[in-house]
């Protein structure tokens, strides 16, 4: 039985980088299968919020529960093993490993032993990686690197996939391709948090959206609401 509570339940997160107070009591709740857009201009705390949830930057105040278990100060690998996969900004592929090794090293069954995302299925999702299996991570184009990081995240059979600026710096056609695949992945029932500046592309995929301004949530609502009120995007995102 899959539990029906939220995968991530983060409440009142306060986070600091050195002396600067980046997050001021942010809540982030993700239910199974839900796709959430996390938006805001640069420096508003999106990545910091993700890092707090992932255990990479433990919050100063507030709590993070993953599947009902308190993981506020847990090691990042425990949070990952609770079913959360991370595709960081800048991608974070291992350049000293081949494409094949990047995928294999991450392979593991998900929570409850699910093994839907096998090596073969990931390669079928990203056929371009198939021709590159023996190449080092650094020999890939930006788009291929992004496919590799998403594929690698899927190898962990996550219940929640976190994508930080997945299409940043990619050519429009490649970005479109990535968005199409993200849409496919979300349709399989994997929950997702998408951070991106492309409001239209994000809201096509997401159910719910959060906008951060200076470390606070200023808007939370459905994609339909955002589309119906272009003023919101204009005011907080400048788009």
């Amino acid at each position: 039985m899959r539990d029906v509570g939220p995968i991530v339940d983060a409440r009142g997160i306060h986070a600091h980088y050195g002396l600067s107070h980046v997050l001021h009591g942010v809540d982030l709740i993700v239910h199974p299968g839900e796709a959430i857009g996390l938006m805001g201009r640069n420096g508003m705390g999106k990545t910091t919020l993700l890092r707090s949830v992932l255990g990479l930057l433990p919050p100063r105040r507030g709590s993070v529960h993953v599947r009902g278990v308190d993981m506020t100060r847990a090691a990042p690998h425990r949070i990952a093993r609770a079913g959360i996969a991370y595709v960081p900004e800048g991608r974070g592929i291992f350049p000293n490993l081949t494409v094949r090794e990047n995928l294999i090293m991450a392979a593991r069954p998900g929570v409850g032993g699910r093994n839907e995302w096998t090596y073969d299925r990931v390669l079928a999702t990203f056929p371009r990686l198939m021709e590159r299996l023996g190449h080092g991570g650094q020999q890939l184009s930006g788009g291929e690197q992004q496919m590799l990081t998403i594929g690698r995240a899927l190898m962990t059979n996550p219940d929640l996939l976190i994508l930080d600026e997945a299409t940043e710096g990619l050519a429009p056609l490649i970005a479109q391709e990535i968005w199409r695949i993200i849409g496919q992945i979300c349709a399989t029932g994997v929950a997702a948090i998408l951070v991106d500046k492309n409001l239209a592309a994000v809201t096509r995929v997401t159910d719910r959206n959060i906008i951060l301004v200076k470390g606070r949530v200023v808007f939370e609502g459905t994609s339909a609401e955002l589309r119906a009120n272009p003023a919101i995007g204009l005011q907080h995102l400048g788009v």
């Binding site: 990479l56 090691a75 690998h77 990952a80 291992f94 000293n96 090794e101 090293m105 991450a106």
Partner: protein
């Protein structure tokens, strides 16, 4: 320039000695380069565990009456010692400046030397070669080569192959390499990086100790024996390229050859004797030449 050639049989024996010495150096240096390359920690005390290995081999062989059992028990103990040290001290160094690492691990040298004195005393000991390896292979009517030295080389080669296999071909090796390149990313993929680091450090210590154990019957066991080894091992790591196990193997063999033949060749330049008089400098001259040619070492990553 005058050059005195060696007779072939002497040359053959010295070549075998050089390879055996180089392979033994590789075992010690591989742990050093792994720990430095993956965790970024300079462990000055690494050579002390070469000494601990030799003393363990001596005392355990006396206790069990069998060097083989002594080595198995000794390696298990070294793994435990390495894991305990990582847990108690070394993991506090990963995010710190190299100065702290040098201070702490230099302190460890003094502590290990003192503990060795308390536990085993300051005497020099000999470890007998096991009976089944005690034979010699005759090369000519007057010269022969001990089987035990060949056995040392064989064991070192087997371990080098096993290490290359684990690092390059197994999932554990991929995890270690991934953790070395991007610790945070590896953690976010569910890898317990602290445990990986503990294991790598413990294995490095066990390799150094194992080298001391198998060297004990040929080198004898004496206080401070690790200090000679650690300096040469740093030369190996620097020549090979920091973090490169392959580089450590090539560099260790090179040093074995240069050091051994530096001591037996006779060379005169313009009437001034150069070798073997200056043999003590030969490995450092080699290091200087390599660094002038390739500042990052033979197999090191070029600084971007």
């Amino acid at each position: 320039m005058r050059w005195l050639a060696l007779p072939f049989d002497t040359f053959a024996i010295q070549l075998l000695n050089a390879v055996q010495y180089g392979l033994l150096l590789f075992l010690v240096a591989s742990g050093l380069t792994l720990v430095f390359g993956i965790m970024g920690v300079i462990n000055l005390a690494h050579g002390s565990f070469y000494m601990i290995g030799a003393y363990l081999a001596w005392s355990l062989a006396e206790h069990f009456g069998n060097l083989g059992i002594a080595i198995v028990v000794g390696v298990a103990l070294s793994l435990l010692i390495g894991a305990a040290l990582e847990w108690l001290f070394i993991r506090r160094l990963y995010d710190r400046d190299h100065l702290y690492q040098v201070l702490l691990t230099y302190g460890l040298i003094l502590i290990v030397e003192e503990l060795r004195s308390i536990v085993w005393g300051d005497d020099v000991h000999a470890v007998p070669v096991p009976d089944w390896l005690a034979a010699s292979i005759p090369l000519t009517d007057t010269l022969s080569y001990p089987v035990y030295r060949l056995w040392i080389s064989g064991v070192c080669i087997a371990l080098a192959i096993a290490m290359a296999f684990v690092i390059q071909r197994t999932r554990i090796g991929m995890t270690i390499r991934a953790g070395a390149s991007n610790r945070e990313m590896a953690q976010s993929l569910g890898i317990d990086i602290r445990f990986v680091q503990l294991v790598v450090f413990a294995v490095g210590i066990a390799l150094a100790a194992f080298a001391g154990m198998i060297a004990a019957p040929v080198s004898s066991v004496f206080p401070g024996m690790g200090n000679q080894v650690i300096i040469i091992c740093f030369v190996v790591v620097v020549i090979g390229g920091i973090g490169s196990v392959k580089g450590a193997l090539v560099a260790a063999l090179l040093i074995g050859l240069v050091d051994t033949f530096g001591k037996v060749l006779e060379l005169e330049v313009a009437g001034i004797p150069v070798l073997p008089e200056l043999a003590g400098m030969s490995v450092y001259v080699l290091m200087a030449i390599v660094l002038l040619w390739r500042p990052e070492g033979l197999f090191g990553k070029r600084a971007p």
